[in-house]
Symmetry: C2
Subunit: 640 residues, 2 copies
C-alpha cells in the first residue's frame, strides 16, 4: 500500500497540475454569512439528518443485512444507502474542520453498522443481493448500486484526508475493489443509471494513490453514452446521459444532478489521465450550459418532469426546478474546472450558486429545506404541515424531509466543507476566491507560510480587508477574485486606491507582514436584464446586490397588491436597504376578461391604476424567501 504522508484536507485533489484548493485546516472562518450557515449545519442539520434516517429505518437497513433479516419489506428508496454515506461524508468534514468529538464518534458508530452489512466479497448494498431481494446489479438503470458506492468512496476519500486510513476506508477499499472486479475491462460492460461512481472512484483513487480506481472511473466515463442502459418508462436515454458519449456532448441535458456528477467525474478522469480532449469537451459543455441553460441564481435544471435541463433559453422562473443537489453538483464541476484552468469565471459561478441556490435551501432552523428552488412562486401550499415529509417541498414551504431526500445530506456535506472552495494555491500564488472573515494560513509548496487575516461584512458590505500576518521573505503573489458583476470595484494597498476590472486584482510580490490590502466591491443594488431569447421572462428585470439575487416577497407588498400585477419603475434606481433594496413599483389592475372565455383579448389590456398605486417596495435576498411563513415570491419583475 502506498503511504499517504501529508494528505491535503480538501474534497478534490487532482493528481496533475500544481493548483490546489486551500485545505479545510488552512482557512478558519470566524464569522459572517458562511460561518452562520456552518454553525446551523453543525448544530442542527447533521443531527436532523441522523434522526430522520434512524426514524425512517434507512440506517437500520444496514443492520438488517448484517442480521440476515432482508426478507421483510425494506423501508426507503433503493438509493437510501447513499444518504447515509453523504451524512458520513458530512461528519468526516465536520470533524476535519472542527476537530470536535461528536461528529467523529457519530461517524465511527455509523461505520460499524455500515461495515457489518458488507458482504465477504466487498459488495455493500442494503437493497440488492440478499435473501428476498433482487439480484445484484439486476437493474443498472434504476438500481443505484454503483451510485451508492460512489458516495461511500467520496466519504472514504474525505476520511483518508482528514484522519488517514481507518475502518471506513477499509470498507470503501473492499467495495471499490469489488466494483473493479465486476465492472473492470474484463467484467460486465455496464454503467450506473445515476453517475457518481466515476468521481467517487477517482477521488478515492487519488486519496489512496490507487491508479486502478482512476482507470475504473475512466472506463465508466467512456462506456456511457452508448445506449446500454435499459430505458425507464417515458424517459429516454438522455435522462441518464446514455445517449451521447461524454466527449461528444456539446451541452448538458437530461437529469441535471446525473449530468453534473458525470461531468465532475469526467473532469477528474481527464485531469488525472492528461486527456485534454475530454477536459475540453466538459469545459465547452459548461460554457454552453451556463450561457443558455442557467438561471440568474446559478440554478440548473428547468424541468420537473425528469428533474432535468431544458433546451437552450427554456428557463421558466415559475417551474424552475433548480434542485438544491444540482446546485451542489454544479459547484463540484465548476470547482474541478477552476482547479484545472485557474479561470475566474468558474469561481464566479460557484459564488452565484452558493449564495442563491445552496444558501436558499436550508431554513433558519437548519431543519427544513427546499428541494427545488424556483424563481417565482404564485401561491402558497395549503397542505404542507411543519414536521411532515412532503414529496418535493413545493409551494413555498421548506420541508424537514422529502420523499426523495437527497438534498439535506448533500447540503450537510457541502456546508461542512465550504472553505474548501474559498481559496487556492498554485506555487507561490495564492488566490482568494470567496470572501469571509477569518484567517488563511497557507503552507507554500516552496516553503514558508502565507498568513492572511480577512475582515469583511461581505456580502452585506463590499469591503474585503486583508492584513498580511506572515509572509515568506521571497516575493509571493496574491490574487483577489473580482466578480463578473463588480463594475467599479477598487483596490487599495500601500500605494493608494485604483480601479480594478472583473477578473483578478493582483498583488505581485512584496507582501510584507502588517501590510493592509482592501478590495472594495460595489454592492449597491443593480438592475439585471435577461437575454431576450429567454421567452419566459420577456419584459422583466431582476435586481441584484453584490452576489445576491433579490426578490419581491408577498409579505412585503401592501395588502391589496398582488405579485401578479406589480410593475417595476426602472427609471428609479433601486436603493440599498438592509441587505436588500427598495424599489419603486406600481400596482396595476387587470380589468376582468369576458366571463367564461380563455384569457386572451382582442386588444391590449388597458392599464388601470391611480396615483396612490405607486410605492417603494422592499426586496429581500432570494436565499431568505419564505422564512417569514409561506409566501409568494418573484425574482423577475415586470417593468412598467
Amino acid at each position: 500500500m502506498e503511504e499517504n504522508t501529508s494528505p491535503l484536507v480538501v474534497p478534490v485533489d487532482p493528481r496533475r497540475g500544481s493548483r490546489r484548493g486551500a485545505a479545510l485546516d488552512e482557512l478558519r472562518v470566524t464569522g459572517g454569512f458562511w460561518e452562520h450557515l456552518q454553525r446551523s449545519n453543525s448544530r442542527s442539520t447533521l443531527r436532523h439528518c441522523l434522526e430522520w434516517m434512524e426514524r425512517l429505518g434507512w440506517i437500520a437497513n444496514f443492520d438488517r443485512v448484517a442480521d440476515g433479516e432482508t426478507d421483510r419489506p425494506r423501508p426507503g428508496w433503493p438509493f437510501s444507502d447513499s444518504e447515509v454515506y453523504k451524512l458520513a461524508e458530512a461528519l468526516v468534514w465536520e470533524h476535519g474542520r472542527t476537530g470536535r468529538a461528536w461528529p467523529n464518534e457519530t461517524l465511527e458508530a455509523l461505520v460499524d453498522r455500515i461495515a457489518a452489512a458488507q458482504d465477504d466479497d466487498g459488495y455493500l448494498n442494503t437493497c440488492y443481493g440478499h435473501a428476498g431481494q433482487a439480484e445484484r446489479y439486476s437493474d443498472l438503470s434504476s438500481g443505484h448500486e454503483l451510485y451508492c458506492t460512489g458516495h461511500l468512496l467520496q466519504a472514504a476519500a474525505a476520511r483518508v484526508r482528514t484522519v488517514g486510513e481507518d475502518k471506513l476506508v477499509e470498507v470503501a477499499r473492499r467495495a471499490a475493489d469489488h466494483v473493479c472486479r465486476e465492472f473492470g475491462a474484463d467484467g460486465r460492460a455496464g454503467v450506473c443509471g445515476h453517475a457518481e461512481i466515476e468521481l467517487g472512484l477517482a477521488e478515492f483513487g487519488r486519496a489512496l494513490g490507487e491508479e486502478r480506481y482512476t482507470e475504473q472511473a475512466r472506463l465508466f466515463v467512456e462506456r456511457r453514452g452508448h445506449g446500454t442502459l435499459k430505458p425507464i418508462a417515458l424517459l429516454d436515454a438522455s435522462y441518464f446521459q446514455d445517449d451521447v458519449p461524454v466527449r461528444e456532448a456539446t451541452v448538458w441535458s437530461g437529469h441535471a444532478v446525473r449530468a453534473l456528477y458525470l461531468a465532475a467525474g469526467a473532469v477528474d478522469v481527464a485531469v488525472d489521465t492528461d486527456d485534454a480532449e475530454l477536459l475540453g469537451a466538459v469545459a465547452r459543455q459548461w460554457e454552453r450550459t451556463v450561457e443558455s441553460r442557467t438561471y440568474l441564481t446559478g440554478g440548473m435544471g428547468s424541468r420537473h418532469q425528469d428533474e432535468g435541463f431544458g433546451e437552450d433559453w427554456e428557463l421558466p422562473p415559475d417551474r424552475a426546478y433548480c434542485e438544491t443537489c444540482a446546485g451542489i453538483a454544479s459547484v463540484m464541476v465548476s470547482w474541478r474546472l477552476y482547479l484545472a484552468t485557474g479561470e475566474a469565471r468558474y469561481a464566479d459561478l460557484i459564488e452565484r450558486t452558493f449564495y442563491n441556490v445552496i444558501a436558499a435551501s436550508p431554513g433558519a432552523d437548519g431543519r427544513s429545506f427546499f428541494y427545488a428552488n424556483p424563481l417565482h412562486q404564485r401561491t402558497t401550499a395549503a397542505d404542507v404541515r411543519p414536521g411532515e415529509v412532503n414529496p418535493r417541498a413545493e409551494g413555498g414551504v421548506r420541508a424537514p424531509w422529502f420523499d426523495v431526500s437527497c438534498c439535506p445530506t448533500n447540503l450537510a456535506r457541502t456546508l461542512a466543507s465550504w472553505q474548501a472552495y474559498a481559496a487556492s494555491v498554485d506555487g507561490d500564488t495564492v488566490s482568494l476566491l470567496q470572501y469571509a472573515p477569518g484567517e488563511l494560513r497557507v503552507a507554500l509548496a516552496d516553503g514558508g507560510d502565507l498568513v492572511l487575516r480577512v475582515t469583511t461584512e461581505y456580502p452585506r458590505e463590499g469591503a474585503v480587508r486583508v492584513e498580511v500576518v506572515e509572509a515568506p521573505t521571497r516575493p509571493v503573489d496574491l490574487r483577489f477574485r473580482v466578480p463578473h458583476w463588480a463594475d467599479g470595484a477598487t483596490f487599495t494597498d500601500g500605494s493608494g486606491t485604483s480601479a480594478v476590472e472583473p477578473g483578478w486584482a493582483h498583488v505581485r510580490g512584496g507582501l510584507e507582514p502588517g501590510a493592509a490590502l482592501t478590495l472594495d466591491l460595489p454592492v449597491t443594488p443593480r438592475l439585471t436584464w435577461p437575454d431576450p431569447r429567454i421567452d419566459a421572462v420577456r419584459g422583466c428585470v431582476a435586481v441584484e446586490r453584490g452576489p445576491l439575487v433579490l426578490c419581491a416577497e408577498s409579505v412585503d407588498l401592501p395588502e391589496d397588491w398582488s405579485l401578479a400585477e406589480i410593475r417595476l419603475d426602472t427609471a428609479v434606481a433601486p436603493r440599498a436597504d438592509g441587505d436588500g433594496a427598495l424599489v419603486r413599483m406600481a400596482s396595476v389592475r387587470t380589468p376582468p376578461g369576458d366571463s367564461g372565455r380563455p384569457p386572451y383579448r382582442s386588444a391590449p389590456t388597458p392599464r388601470l391604476d391611480d396615483g396612490s398605486s405607486i410605492r417603494d417596495v422592499q426586496l429581500i435576498p432570494y436565499h431568505r424567501w419564505a422564512q417569514r411563513g409561506p409566501s409568494a415570491m418573484r425574482v423577475f419583475l415586470p417593468t412598467a
Copy 2:
C-alpha cells in the same frame, strides 16, 4: 328489462331537460374540414389502431385470459384494455354514422374476443385477477380497472343507441352489474385513480334505462375527494382529484384528463339526479379554469410532470402539455354543460378545442399523432424515426404510437362522432353550433321534420348559407351560434342583412321551405393579446383567423432567421393568405453575451437589425404545423 324504443344516436343523452344533441343520423356532413378528417379517420386511423393493438398484443391479452394463459408477462400497461374499448366505441360510431359493414364486422369480431375474457361473475380485465396476476382491485390508485370498465360502458352505450342490444351490451351489462355489487353502497367504498367509470355508468344507465347505474355513478362521484386513494410516489392526492370533493372544488387541478372525465361524470349525475348544487359547482370550475388555466388553442394542462393543470396564469407555451385526450375530455365536459344550460360559450370552447387541439393531433396520413400540443417548439427531435413508438411524440414529430397510447383511439371515437356536437334541438328550437357543409334533418319532438341544407367553406371562408328544405307549418326557431371572436358578423335573410352580436343569431318562426339564410362570420386575420397575468407570453401577441389559431413555422422563415429572434410589427395588420395570414416581421440579432456567463446582462440588450431584416412572413393554421417535416414553431409572437 326496460325497452329502449327509439334511442337517440348521440354520445350524451341526459335523462332530464328537453335539450338534446342532433343525432349522428340527423346530420350528414358532405365535405369540408371535418368530413376530411372523418374520412382520414375512417380510411386510416381505425385500421391503424387495430393493427398496432394486434401487433403489441393488447387485443391478444383478452385471448390469453380466455385461454387461461395469464401467467406469462403481459404486454402493455395495466390500462391497455381501455384502448381496445375506445377503438370499439369508435367502430360503433363509425358504423352508426356510415352504416358500413367493415366497422360492424370488425367490432363484432373484437367483441367475441373481449367477451371470452369475461369472468363468470362479470369481472372483465386482462391485467388483474387471474393466475399469475395481482388480485382484483388490489391497486385502485394505479390499477385502472374501473377506468377500463368505464370505457367499455361508453362503447356499449353507443352500441345500444346505434343498433340496440347485442353481445357487447350484454358483456357491458354484466361488467356494470359486477361493479355495482363490488362498489355499491354496501360494497367497498373505493374509487378508481382515473375517473371514467362515473360517466360510463351514467351513460350506460341512460342507454338502458337502468337507474342503478346512475346511482352507482353518483356514489363514485361523491366518494372522491376524501383522500382514500393511496398516493403514488411524488404525486399528491390532487393528481387524481382525491383531495377535495367535486362539489367543493373551485377549479380543476391535477391530471387534466382525470379531472375532466370526472367533471363530465359529475355533470351526468347532477343532471340526472336534478342536483343543481353539483351542476353549479362544475360550471364554476369550468368557468375559472377556462378563464385562467386554458390556452389560446383551448388546450388544457400546462405541466408535463403530472400531465396536469398548473396554477392560475401558469400557461407556458413551450412546455404546454395540452394533451390531445384532455382536449377531447374538455369537449365532453363542455358539451354536457351546453346541453344542461344552452349557453353558447360552451359551444365556443368546443369549437376552439376542435380546431386547435383535436384537429392538430392527427397527421395528414391519419397514422401519426401528437400526444402533447405545445404552442411553442424551439427545436426538432433528432431521434424520432417514422414508424417507431416514442414515449410522448415530442420534438415536433407526430408518432404512430406512444408508450401510453391513449390519444389515437380517443381521436378515433371523437372524429367518428363529430356531428354529435354540431347542432342541438330543444322543443321547436334548433341550434346550429358547428358549421360544416351538409344536411341536417331533425325530427322535432312535437312532430314534423326540419330539414336544412348547409353550404359553407368555413373556416377558410366565413359565409354559412342555410337553405330551408323542409319545415313544419307551425313556427319553429332556428339559432346560429355567433362565435365569441366574431365581431362584425352579419346575418342575411329575406328581409336583408343586419349586424349580429356574438352569441346567437335567431330566426324566430316563419321558416319556409326554400328560404335562404346566411351567417357571415369575419375570418380576416386578427391579433389576440394574452392577459397580462400570463407571465410566460408577456410582450407577445398571437394571430387568429376565424376559429383557427395561427402559428409561425420555421420552414416559412427566411433561411437566416430564427424563431427565437423574430418580432411582429403590430402596426401592420395581418393579411389573409390561403387559410393562414401574412404578417410583417423583423429579425433581430441578439449580440453575444459574455463568454461563460449566465444569460443576464447589466443593460437591456440593444436591438441589432438593418433595413433588410423586415419581411412579410407566412403564418399557417396551428393544426397543420409539422406536416412538412419536423419543424420549430411558435403561436405567440414577440412584438417589436
